[in-house]
């Protein structure tokens, strides 16, 4: 009596469950409505405090939850308003006065005030905090709130790139007095609905966002993947809608896939092969010169980048910096015999053995494999040590090793590379390059307000680096993105994490 009932009950329950499941399925299917949800695949977040972020994933989330004071229009490389509606620069280039947009509020409801901007930049430039930005902002003398919505920056010397510095990846405005900078209390286009580390972060549109008509989506689900291949598979299978970064073969594999639009953009980013120049064997400039002569750049571009991107000329001022780039400075043509001769002169007639340290990301291991073969012809024998990024960069090991390959992401202005990589006391002077003439030229280019003088200084820098630079830049890499064709308004950025999600909407 009781038993049949129970079977009936469980059957009924199973049916009901099935029904609910079917409902859920049908609810999932028409997710593609205006407003709807965008699902983005990206690597897991590690840092969420804006002052500490660095990866694409971290910057992507921060750029959606917080706002920059000034943004960079990547098409024209110009500073454009974001929280600052307007700004004025004094004639001597030392005083910048920003007027903030009115009616902006943080996600907790409190209004944005000039003090918040002052507090944010004081925090970022605090030398005691040792943030990556503290060296970037040493040039700032004072930051003051000169009105409810007016902030004035005073510089110690002119900086033609100051607006670019203010749009640095870390310079997201947080509320004055914030003690936990990981609480996602920004002014940005999205609020954080749910963050489960290593799984996903769910963003909801900020209804109070100060820009009319933005964001174009109700929700963004940023789902964490460890592996680019898995991201692209999920995109093909329709489990996600957007991938912001992938390898060339994966990009190639998405061509002609129905329902997916792919994007490739050239960038100023590059992989850098560098030799320490302050000790043997790099202290003899003939050694790096021999390496340059032994390198076949065309083959590298074809093999490692499959022809995408641009050829490099060993100088971090790429062709996209139009007027700053000097097209007349060309790398030496490959000449294995000349390389051998130079090595012999430098005392390595019997060959030179070195270990090359390589992070295991992007095209870097491939670049190392190709270089090994090319350089071997000239008698430069390298052992490759492929290391996870956290090992390569961990404890500043990369700054110690003699020979290494480092990836440098794209920046909107070239001065960044000179100041952080090549001047004598640069924080990331991985080649330990020290050249008084170079330092002088870099200082001129970074402080003059005369555009022509700057172009001239950059031109001289390029000639100097071609002659005795400690680095090899074989190519400038592109970035690849792909999005479901149901969406519009997607504009991939050279630094993929800076891509705006709030301009994307359903077609």
């Amino acid at each position: 009596m009781y038993k049949p009932n129970s079977t009936l009950l469980s059957k009924g329950l199973a049916l009901a469950l099935l029904f609910v499941f079917a409902l859920m399925l049908s609810a999932c299917a028409p997710a593609a409505q205006p407003g709807g949800t965008l699902r983005v695949a990206i690597q897991p977040l590690v840092q969420t405090d804006p002052a500490l972020i660095s990866s694409d994933a971290e910057v992507l989330v921060a750029n959606s939850v917080y706002d920059y004071l000034v943004d960079i229009d990547s098409l024209n490389n110009n500073p454009v308003p974001r929280l600052a509606a307007d700004w004025e620069v004094s004639d001597d280039g030392l005083t910048y006065t920003f007027t903030l947009a009115d009616g902006v509020s943080f996600h907790d409801g409190s209004p944005l005030a000039a003090e918040d901007v002052v507090w944010t930049f004081d925090r970022l430039r605090d030398p005691a905090a040792e943030y990556a930005t503290s060296s970037l902002y040493t040039n700032i003398a004072t930051i003051e709130a000169t009105g409810r919505l007016e902030v004035t920056f005073t510089l110690t010397q002119p900086n033609p790139f100051f607006l670019y510095d203010l749009s640095d990846n870390h310079a997201l405005i947080i509320k004055s007095g914030t003690t936990e900078a990981t609480d996602f209390n920004g002014t940005g286009p999205f609020t954080v609905e749910n963050y489960s580390p290593e799984d996903r972060i769910v963003l909801a549109a900020n209804p109070a966002y100060f820009v009319e008509g933005q964001p174009g989506l109700d929700h963004v689900e940023i789902i964490f993947f460890a592996d680019e291949g898995a991201m692209v598979d999920a995109l093909r299978g329709g489990q996600i809608d957007l991938v912001l970064r992938m390898s060339t073969p994966l990009y190639e594999s998405l061509q002609d896939v129905e329902g997916i639009q792919t994007t490739v953009i050239n960038t100023n980013g590059f992989d850098l092969v560098r030799l320490r120049s302050d000790r043997e064997p790099g202290s003899d400039p003939r050694v790096i010169q021999a390496m340059k002569l032994a390198t076949d750049r065309e083959s590298i571009l074809e093999l490692v980048q499959q022809g995408y991107g641009a050829l490099g000329n060993d100088i971090p001022i790429g062709p996209l910096y139009t007027s700053y780039h000097d097209p007349n400075v060309q790398p030496p043509a490959r000449d294995v015999e000349a390389a051998r001769a130079l090595l012999a002169e430098a005392g390595y007639a019997d060959g030179l053995d070195l270990t090359m340290h390589v992070p295991n990301t992007g095209g870097r291991p491939d670049l190392a494999a190709v270089l090994k073969e090319q350089w071997a012809e000239a008698g430069i024998n390298i052992e490759i040590s492929v290391e996870p990024e956290e090992i390569y960069y961990g404890e500043d090991g990369w700054l110690e090793v003699d020979l290494g390959i480092t990836g440098w992401g794209s920046r909107p202005y070239p001065q960044f590379y000179l100041d952080t990589m090549l001047v004598t006391d640069a924080v990331w002077n991985e080649s330990h390059f020290s050249d008084a003439e170079f330092d002088g030229l870099a200082e001129t280019a970074g402080t003059t307000l005369d555009e022509n003088e700057r172009i001239e200084a950059y031109s001289q820098i390029q000639q100097l680096l071609a002659e005795r630079g400690p680095v090899i830049i074989p190519y400038f890499f592109p970035v690849f993105g792909a999005i479901s064709d149901q969406f519009t308004g997607f504009q991939l950025e050279a630094f993929p994490g800076r891509t705006d999600l709030h301009t994307i909407s359903f077609k």
Binding site: G229, S247, P249, L250, S253, L303, V304, K372, Q374, V386
Partner: protein, 295 residues
């Protein structure tokens, strides 16, 4: 005494030769075992003469043929860096035979010595050694390997060390179990009463009885060593690029599988073919020796 031994050795030689041929015949008695042995010998020849047979260098980049599908010019196609996959697979055979072969050999020699000693002597030495090996065996081989590699850093020598370290306990236990059953037999007792030294009893009386089981075990260990070395290469913690290590090749080709699937299939196929053939051969050895071996 010295003269006696020499005479004995000389008369033993033809008997040993006969035994070898009967062993070979045993190996080829069943088609599956014959197939396994044949493929194994084929790979062995490739490993020996790979550098002569390979049409290109392991890391030679043929830029104008990059990503080419298998063809008459490139039997296994060309990978994403313009390297001939056929040449890399052949040259990789030499690498894996050296790595897995030397690793297995060392593990067998050390493991056998420890197993003989432990089984014959017994007592606290046996107890201590076996409990230590038990604790090592409680960890999966790959996990133990990763732990050791994390300590020593990825390189060919580390992989060799890992193979030796991971397989010594297994070989030692197999040998010990045979020793335990053999040492109670009458002729060992007789040798001991005759006053033969321990070393002589171990190596002249017990070791020959252990050999059949040891041969099978060694073959099995060899196949697992191939597997372990390839797995470590695949995980990127073993042999470093651009070595033509099969596991590493599979790992490198994974990202480009949509463009150059042949760069993945051929090394992956080589791993499975070699592992299967060594296993079949081990099976054949077992049958030929007609021994029961616990795996």
């Amino acid at each position: 005494m010295g003269l006696n031994t020499r005479v004995k050795a000389a008369s033993a030689a033809p008997v040993q030769g006969q035994r070898f041929f009967s062993l070979l015949r045993g190996l080829f008695r069943r088609p599956a075992h014959g197939f396994g042995t044949f493929i194994f010998l084929l790979f062995f020849l490739l490993a020996l003469f790979g550098s002569v047979l390979a049409p290109y260098g392991a890391n030679e980049q043929i830029v104008h043929d990059v990503r080419q599908a298998p063809s008459a010019g490139h039997w296994f196609g060309v990978d994403h860096l313009g390297r001939d996959v056929f040449s890399r697979v052949i040259l990789g055979a030499g690498d894996i035979f050296t790595l897995a072969g030397i690793g297995t050999l060392l593990a067998v020699v050390i493991g056998t010595s420890l197993g003989l000693l432990s089984g014959y002597r017994g007592g606290w030495f046996d107890e201590l050694l076996m409990r230590f090996f038990d604790s090592l065996l409680a960890l999966p081989a790959l996990l133990l390997a990763l732990l050791l590699l994390g300590r020593f850093g990825p390189s060919r020598q580390s992989v060799l060390l890992v193979i030796v370290a991971v397989y010594i306990p297994i070989v030692a236990r197999v040998v010990r179990s045979v020793v335990l059953s053999v040492k109670t037999r009458g002729y060992i007792e007789a040798a001991r009463i005759q006053g033969e030294s321990s070393a002589r009893i171990l190596f002249r009386e017990i070791l020959p009885a252990v050999l059949p089981a040891l041969a099978v075990e060694a073959a099995l260990r060899f196949s697992y060593a191939i597997f372990l070395a390839s797995s470590l290469g695949f995980l990127g913690v073993g042999v470093q690029p651009p070595s033509p290590d099969w596991g590493l090749m599979v790992n490198e080709a994974r990202d480009t599988v949509s463009q150059t699937p042949w760069a993945l299939y051929f090394p992956a196929g080589a791993i499975s073919l070699l592992v299967i053939s060594v296993n079949l051969m081990a099976d054949g050895l077992k049958q030929a020796f007609q021994v029961e071996v616990q795996i």
